[in-house]
């Protein structure tokens, strides 16, 4: 769960009515300006800009970083408002944060990820053809010949699936023997498997679980330090529950999907599909996206499927901070909408982003695009006005205000509105 105060929301300017920055003007100053990114507090809008051949920099609120780069990509604001980019000069890549480069240099770097409070920044790296992870400018000491599924814990721990033995081309027996392990903070676990997918940390960042394939047909779950004895036809990403002492995982057996807990059947319902588990530890509530009849999708909370269904897709299942509201995005007949606690909104959106919720879950706000225009919806009501572009809304800690970050007519606007005026 995010600690929103740690992200500084209380310290943000929740009083100013409107601040504007003319971003369209930047286009006349550079060869091209890439898509804008906005800080969580809305005070900064930034883009990668190009001034000449192989000359990139970052423009923030109209000011350009002193350093230029031959290449730059993956511009992102951290949750605590720092601006980071992956950048290269002389074919050496690094991370540059707020204009200051890390000391470490790599042949390549990608997959930039933040912990939810922004204090840890991790990325995948390649150096001399070997692969690893860097967190806060500290690269792994051991590197590997292949690496996937990098993940970062809230406490700055890192894990990734690594290839620990070489394989000659076409050595399918070697592959079946298990070439892959999970490296945690750079050190591989002793166990190897044919495949490893989807590593998940517990909330304390102490333990890991992941999906494994033991042979071509048998899948299972690895929990902390051992693999479940049971094998299944397939399995998806597990999740720790109950203060990290237990683990649940979707597994397929007999052509159907079940939720197992600690290697035993847990939910009694059987599903056509079951994935993307959301957990609220304090409420002891577990939810998942499920298909309870073929081609029909819904959310099951504590094994109770919702009444509303989507015929195409459900994404972004999440609890509010206190666990009273469970939200997901439903797509039916090509149109997206928010469904909160099994209550659908009437949006008909072409594109829809994960909603913001206040701690209680009483205020739910989502941005969406419809027929090329962006809108904001709060608690199911579409707020007046539309925008050329709208960024993720933020709700004030007391739940009374919404920060709207938008661009219209080439002007970036930061605006704080009263929730009461929108619902």
């Amino acid at each position: 769960m995010n600690d929103k105060n740690a992200n500084g929301r209380n310290a943000w300017d929740w009083q100013t009515e409107k601040k504007q920055i003319p971003v369209k003007e930047w286009e006349s100053q550079f060869n091209w300006v890439e898509e804008p990114h906005v800080s969580p507090d809305g005070e900064q809008v930034a883009s990668i800009v190009n001034s000449d051949e192989a000359e990139f920099s970052i423009c923030v609120n109209g000011d350009v970083w002193e350093d230029t780069f031959e290449k730059a990509w993956s511009l992102k604001f951290s949750p605590d408002g720092r601006l980071a980019v992956l950048a290269a000069n002389d074919e050496e890549w690094t991370v540059c944060i707020d204009g200051t480069e890390w000391e470490s240099r790599f042949d390549y770097i990608w997959g930039m990820t933040f912990s939810s409070d922004g204090s840890y920044l991790g990325a995948a790296i390649q150096q001399d053809g070997e692969y690893g992870v860097v967190v806060n400018d500290e690269p792994w000491e051991s590197l590997y010949e292949n690496m996937n599924h990098f993940t970062l814990s809230e406490q700055g721990g890192s894990a990734a699936v690594v290839q620990v033995s070489s394989m000659s081309q076409g050595d399918i027996d070697g592959f079946a023997g298990g070439l892959f392990s999970l490296a945690v903070n750079g050190e591989p676990m002793p166990q190897t498997f044919m495949n490893i997918w989807d590593p998940a940390f517990d909330s304390q960042g102490k333990h890991l679980a992941f999906t494994i394939r033991k042979n071509r047909s048998d899948y299972s779950i690895f929990q902390v330090d051992t693999a479940w004895d049971q094998t299944f036809q397939s399995a998806w990403k597990p999740a720790f529950i109950e203060n990290d002492t237990s683990l649940v995982a979707p597994v397929r057996t007999g052509g159907k999907w079940y939720l197992y807990k600690n290697a035993r059947p847990f939910w009694s319902n059987v599903y056509e599909q079951l994935w993307q588990i959301a957990v609220h530890q304090e409420k002891k509530s577990i939810a998942a996206i499920v298909s309870d009849s073929y081609g029909k999708w819904t959310v099951s909370q504590d094994d109770r499927p919702w009444t509303n269904h989507a015929d195409q897709m459900i994404t972004d299942l999440s609890f509010s901070e206190q666990g009273d509201t469970l939200c997901a995005l439903f797509k039916t007949n090509g149109a997206w909408t928010v469904v909160a606690n099994d209550k659908p909104w009437d949006l008909g959106a072409d594109k829809l982003w994960k909603p913001a919720m206040d701690a209680t879950g009483e205020i739910v706000a989502a941005r969406f695009e419809k027929q090329g225009r962006y809108h904001l919806a709060v608690n199911g009501r579409v707020a007046p006005g539309d925008y050329d572009m709208l960024f993720d809304p933020e709700i004030s800690p007391d739940g009374t205000k919404i920060l709207i970050k938008s661009i219209t007519g080439g002007i970036y606007s930061r605006q704080v509105l009263s929730v009461d005026g929108l619902i």
């Binding site: 890439e34 996937n148 399918i172 394939r213 397939s234 994404t315 797509k331």
Partner: protein, 450 residues
């Protein structure tokens, strides 16, 4: 054209040594063989399978539809019904108690003598889907671990990297940035936008593009830029839309790949996915992998390149400076013609681009498979000689057009048709639609608004 008498210099080999199949067979016991066969046939099939088995009356109408049958002097054992009889019928009759020699033969038939192209189904009076039957045989091969080596290695790559060619994560991104840089020679502000959240289109490709044919990504970037398309490509796994697991009966990996593909698109909040010129990949995410995952239809609109190019050309987003002059013919990839009905649109695209189109016979949904499809080419060098013999009818079909250029909007088809033209000495250049569009288009940027 070369003298076609060279076509009979080889004979179909039934004694191909495939290490993976040989080693897999060594490990099997009679109990395991019967157990797996009976488990798959009893537990993983249903009414459709039983109906097909019970309905086929060996009328032989499927035989003339099969390019293997025609390419092998109408040898009855190459007819689709005979392939079922030599594999599934015998397994059913013997209740799974079949020999290792039988299994070796079965692997060859199911994996290399059927393109699962579904042409025969169109001629069957009952519409029996032989492709489904052969894929059931391949499922048994998968569960017995006797899948041919090369295609199994491809599936291993899929499972470990989510792409079929062991392309590492940095290699993928680096290749896109390299192509972007090169393409700026033509448009100085051209971009291949990576991870652009909220773009209209996610463009996906198959792994041979970054691995061997990066120029195709360059061409696409030029087309997208000129057309003013709001597009993106994902930096994360999910960018590869290919799926050989679908053809080895490894449905679990097949579904996992389709899930990764759609999740990549959902994470980017795009309206639709446009995929490059590949047929099997389309089948994988439109018809197979998605359905294993539980999506009856694609959860995000999926557009094949033929459809997309048609849209760009007919809406004026791409303008033709001067039509292509060489005579061209068109190969209809099975998975987007029989599988999706794009053959008429493909012809409209040809005629918008080219002055001199020569129709192939038979054509459209009746066209023959390239001979490489269904994972057959992916079974690799051990089977190549036999594949060439089995492709004789396709070679004759190509030659009869007399065209200088063959357009094949599918990667597998491209590779297979190149093998045919090289093997038989057919003087024909093979191109993608993207190659032709790139060559004839006006290199100006569409100003009509996004």
């Amino acid at each position: 054209m070369q003298d076609s008498t060279i076509e009979n210099k080889d004979s179909v080999k039934t004694d191909v040594i495939d290490e993976a199949v040989e080693r897999g067979l060594e490990r099997l016991t009679p109990e395991r063989i019967a157990g797996v066969i009976n488990q798959v046939l009893a537990k993983e099939t249903g009414a459709r399978f039983k109906t097909y088995i019970d309905t086929c009356m060996r009328c032989g109408l499927c035989a003339d539809a099969c390019s293997f049958f025609l390419s092998n002097d109408r040898d009855p054992k190459f007819s689709p019904a005979a392939k079922v009889k030599q594999t599934l019928t015998e397994m059913l009759e013997k209740r799974g108690n079949v020999s290792k020699d039988f299994l070796k033969n079965m692997v060859r038939i199911a994996h290399t003598e059927c393109n699962v192209c579904k042409r025969c189904s169109m001629y069957c009076p009952f519409g029996i889907d032989i492709a489904y039957m052969m894929l059931t045989v391949r499922r048994i091969c998968h569960k017995l671990e006797i899948t041919p080596l090369y295609i199994q290695d491809t599936v291993n790559s899929h499972s470990a990297t989510m792409n079929q060619m062991w392309v590492k994560e940095d290699e993928w991104i680096d290749t896109l940035q390299w192509q972007e840089e090169d393409a700026r020679e033509e448009f100085e502000d051209l971009r291949i936008p990576l991870d652009k959240d909220g773009a209209d289109i996610m463009y996906s490709v198959i792994a041979p593009e970054p691995k061997f044919q990066a120029g195709l990504i360059y061409q696409t970037a030029v087309i997208m830029h000129a057309a003013g398309v709001n597009w993106t490509m994902p930096s994360n796994p999910g960018w590869d839309n290919s799926n050989m697991a679908m053809f080895t009966g490894d449905f679990e990996i097949s579904g996992r790949l389709a899930k990764a593909h759609y999740e990549a698109a959902a994470d980017l909040h795009v309206n639709r996915i446009v995929m490059g010129e590949c047929g099997h990949a389309f089948r994988s995410v439109y018809d197979v992998g998605n359905r294993w995952a539980g999506w009856r239809m694609p959860p995000i609109e999926l557009v094949h390149a033929i459809d997309f190019f048609h849209e760009l050309l007919t809406t004026g987003r791409i303008k033709v400076k001067e039509k292509y002059k060489k005579s061209v013919t068109l190969h209809d990839p099975c998975n987007v013609s029989r599988g999706r009905g794009l053959h008429d649109k493909a012809r409209e695209v040809v005629n918008l681009l080219c002055d001199n189109f020569i129709e192939m016979t038979p054509n459209k949904e009746h066209n023959f498979c390239c001979g490489a499809g269904g994972g057959v080419i992916n079974c690799g060098p051990p089977y190549k000689t036999t594949r060439m013999i089995n492709n004789r009818v396709k070679k004759e079909q190509l030659e009869q057009t007399g065209a200088e250029v063959l357009i094949a909007p599918c990667h597998n088809c491209h590779s297979g048709l190149e093998d045919i033209t090289h093997h038989y000495g057919v003087d024909m250049e093979i191109k993608f639609f993207g190659d032709i569009i790139y060559e004839v288009m006006e290199k100006t940027i569409y100003q009509g608004g996004v």
